[in-house]
């Protein structure tokens, strides 16, 4: 009758705080081996909200996701760029292997419109990825929760870009990645993931040449990975 702890943790759905979650989620590899190894499931999660925190622009905080974005657009799905700082530059996206004809640029007039557009895009199921730039805003937790649910229902990758000041506040998102840069080397740490946080920075290789590396991408299929193997 008595089950040992060792037996219990073998049961499916039982998760210990010390390990990465091993429930199967759909993920898309980012193309950065070190980063993928630290992400639950071995890639950037689809169907959920994630946050990329960064201070300063121009450190490769968008382009390190190029590989994942290209995969998320598979199956004629769109990539929505909502409320971005500047205009996404078409030649750069093309170099990164992101299909331009699936990119949708949305420049809302205010925050409310931006959040609404993000929710609609996620819910519609037409978007594989929705990228949103937004600092702190009113009723933030409730809105993030809504975006999380919309991402689940639309099976889309939702990524919110904001400054690291947001790290002090709790979030309903399932993944939070902090991006920083040393001189020419980009590095990431993962303060929140489905598993123990990763507090030390790990190098995210080739942040500045990833545009070229992501073009030679391996099999063009979404990957379902269980981290327990």
């Amino acid at each position: 009758m008595k089950a040992t702890v060792a037996q219990l943790v073998q049961l499916p759905g039982v998760w210990r705080g010390g390990e990465l979650e091993h429930v199967v989620h759909k993920v898309v590899p980012t193309g950065h081996a070190r980063l993928d190894a630290e992400l639950p499931g071995g890639g950037w999660p689809m169907g959920t909200l994630s946050e990329v925190l960064h201070d300063g622009v121009g450190i490769g905080e968008v382009s390190f996701l190029a590989g994942a974005l290209a995969r998320a657009a598979d199956g004629a799905r769109m990539i929505a760029w909502i409320n971005a700082l500047h205009l996404p530059y078409a030649p750069a996206l093309a170099q990164a292997g992101i299909p331009l004809d699936r990119c949708l640029v949305v420049r809302p007039a205010d925050r409310e419109d931006a959040l609404w557009a993000a929710e609609q895009s996620l819910k519609s199921g037409a978007c594989g990825a929705v990228l949103l730039w937004m600092e702190r805003f009113a009723q933030e937790y409730a809105w993030l929760r809504r975006l999380q649910m919309a991402a689940e229902s639309g099976r889309a990758m939702a990524v919110l870009f904001r400054s690291t000041a947001a790290e002090r506040h709790s979030t309903p998102s399932h993944l939070r990645v902090v991006v920083a840069s040393d001189r020419a080397q980009m590095k990431v740490r993962i303060p929140k993931r489905r598993g123990p946080p990763l507090h030390q920075f790990i190098p995210c290789s080739g942040s500045h040449s990833n545009f070229l590396s992501s073009r030679s991408r391996s099999p063009n299929v979404p990957v379902l990975v269980s981290s327990r193997s």
């Binding site: 450190i59 078409a90 949305v106 020419a184």
Partner: protein
């Protein structure tokens, strides 16, 4: 209560339940009716409005069968050929009555092999004598036998004489020899009997709806604000959907008119990328647009107009969503976003044939498919930044070196771009990738004619 007849002596044409409970019957003099119920509200009958309403319903009903005709005070639909599509009588009649309810009307349906019999059944139901639908022609004389003659559209005089003879039911008159009836009551009575039983054909002219859509709805009470308009709007859109279905059409441009009293009104145009007709979808778009409006006053009527009904491409016909369905979902998303944010705030991007960074890309109307001008991005020699500034930004320099949050190191370049000498917007620049101590990378350039001036043009995010 609705009145008709000469102005000197108007008669009751129709009375609602409250009036009927007070003892008011059709055919009474209005004066007599007023004596029965003091608070009676009398409305003059408006045959033009009745006809228009029937036409609207007929237009809507054309989605079920192309053979819809207006029949006295109702519509006749020849559904024999549509039965298979709609999976039998029961489902078809259910769909029709549900649809008419959605339009805001109530209808009595009669199902029979001849239009006259169907009309008879429907009227019998109004009188409270429900008759089961009859499908086989040979059963018809039996089914109609017990119905009273006054349900037929015969002159009152004829009906009175028949009653005098003790002929009050169809059973009685069908048993009589036709020659005798023709001689006494006129050949048209015999003809209608033969059409009723299907012995003589009863050809009808199908109602041809005009190739545009116009409908107007007076609201029962003035509506403040926008939310209250959605329900009546749904009715109009349901009607539009029916009409469009009947023609295999959709609308690309719709004008919604909100009337506030006599003088003022608000117009709202809805435009779609491709013809649409699904009421729920159009309603969702209209809701976003309406949400942006501030109405000057309460609304008392709404009208909907589409000047062109265009061929409609059916959607969701496949049961496995593929690239095509995905593309349609995308189109709809773009429409929903543009409806609220404005079309200029939602767009796609594409490459263009030029070497100048300002002109080697373009905005395109989302998804209209800007085919890549250059087959691939290989023609770009150097790396391109994620963001391009709308216009280059002059950088401060120190000892001739560009500064941006610290000194910039040139990590790649120069890449020389010289173009545009042919159109007066000449560009002669050397581009570099520059990184500062914080690890931020920028795309900067300097002009040939002034090598000391540095400009920021992009950010490698």
């Amino acid at each position: 209560m609705i009145a008709e007849g000469p102005a000197q002596r108007p008669l009751v044409a129709c009375a609602n339940r409250a009036a009927a409970d007070a003892g008011i019957r059709a055919g009474q003099a209005v004066a007599a009716a007023k004596a029965l119920a003091g608070s009676l509200r009398v409305i003059d009958r408006d045959p033009a409005a009745e006809r228009e309403t029937l036409e609207r319903i007929a237009g809507w009903a054309s989605q079920f069968t192309p053979m819809v005709s207006i029949d006295a005070q109702g519509i006749a639909m020849e559904v024999e050929s549509s039965l298979r599509l709609f999976d039998g009588h029961a489902k078809l009649t259910a769909a029709v009555s549900r649809g008419i309810r959605e339009l805001g009307f109530s209808a009595m349906l009669g199902v029979a092999p001849t239009p006259l019999a169907a009309r008879l059944f429907a009227r019998a139901e109004v009188e409270g004598r429900a008759v089961r639908g009859c499908l086989a022609l040979q059963d018809l004389p039996e089914r109609v036998a017990d119905l009273p003659l006054f349900l037929m559209d015969w002159p009152d005089k004829t009906l009175a004489r028949l009653t005098d003879l003790g002929i009050v039911r169809l059973r009685d008159i069908l048993a009589l020899p036709h020659e005798g009836i023709a001689k006494r009551f006129g050949p048209e009575i015999v003809l209608s009997l033969e059409r009723l039983t299907g012995r003589v054909a009863d050809p009808r002219e199908p109602y041809a709806a005009p190739a545009r859509f116009r409908s107007r709805l007076e609201l029962p009470a003035e509506a403040e604000g926008v939310e209250a308009l959605l329900f009546p709007l749904k009715r109009l859109l349901t009607e539009l959907e029916g009409c469009s279905r009947g023609r295999g059409a959709g609308v690309q441009r719709l004008v919604l008119r909100l009337e506030h009293g006599r003088k003022s009104h608000t117009r709202l145009a809805l435009e779609f990328a491709s013809p649409e007709r699904e009421a729920d979808f159009i309603l969702a778009i209209a809701r976003e647009k309406l949400g942006r409006l501030t109405l000057p006053a309460a609304t008392n009527a709404i009208g909907l107009r589409a000047d062109a009904l265009l061929p409609y491409v059916p959607r969701s016909s496949a049961w496995l969503p593929g690239a095509r369905e995905q593309a349609i979902e995308g189109e709809r998303l773009v429409e929903r976003l543009s409806a609220r944010l404005g079309a200029d705030r939602v767009f796609g991007i594409a490459l263009a044939d030029d070497h100048r960074p300002e002109k080697d890309w373009k905005q395109c109307h989302s998804r209209e498919g800007g085919k890549p001008a250059r087959a691939n991005a290989a023609s770009f020699r150097g790396r391109r930044p994620t963001w391009l500034l709308p216009r280059p930004h002059r950088l401060v320099t120190e000892d001739g070196l560009p500064m941006l949050q610290g000194t910039l190191d040139l990590t790649a370049g120069p890449e020389r771009i010289e173009a545009g000498w042919w159109d007066g917007e000449e560009v002669r620049r050397d581009y570099y990738v520059a990184t500062n101590a914080r690890g931020e990378s920028y795309w900067i350039y300097r002009e040939h004619r002034d090598l000391s001036a540095w400009y920021l043009h992009g950010v490698f995010s």
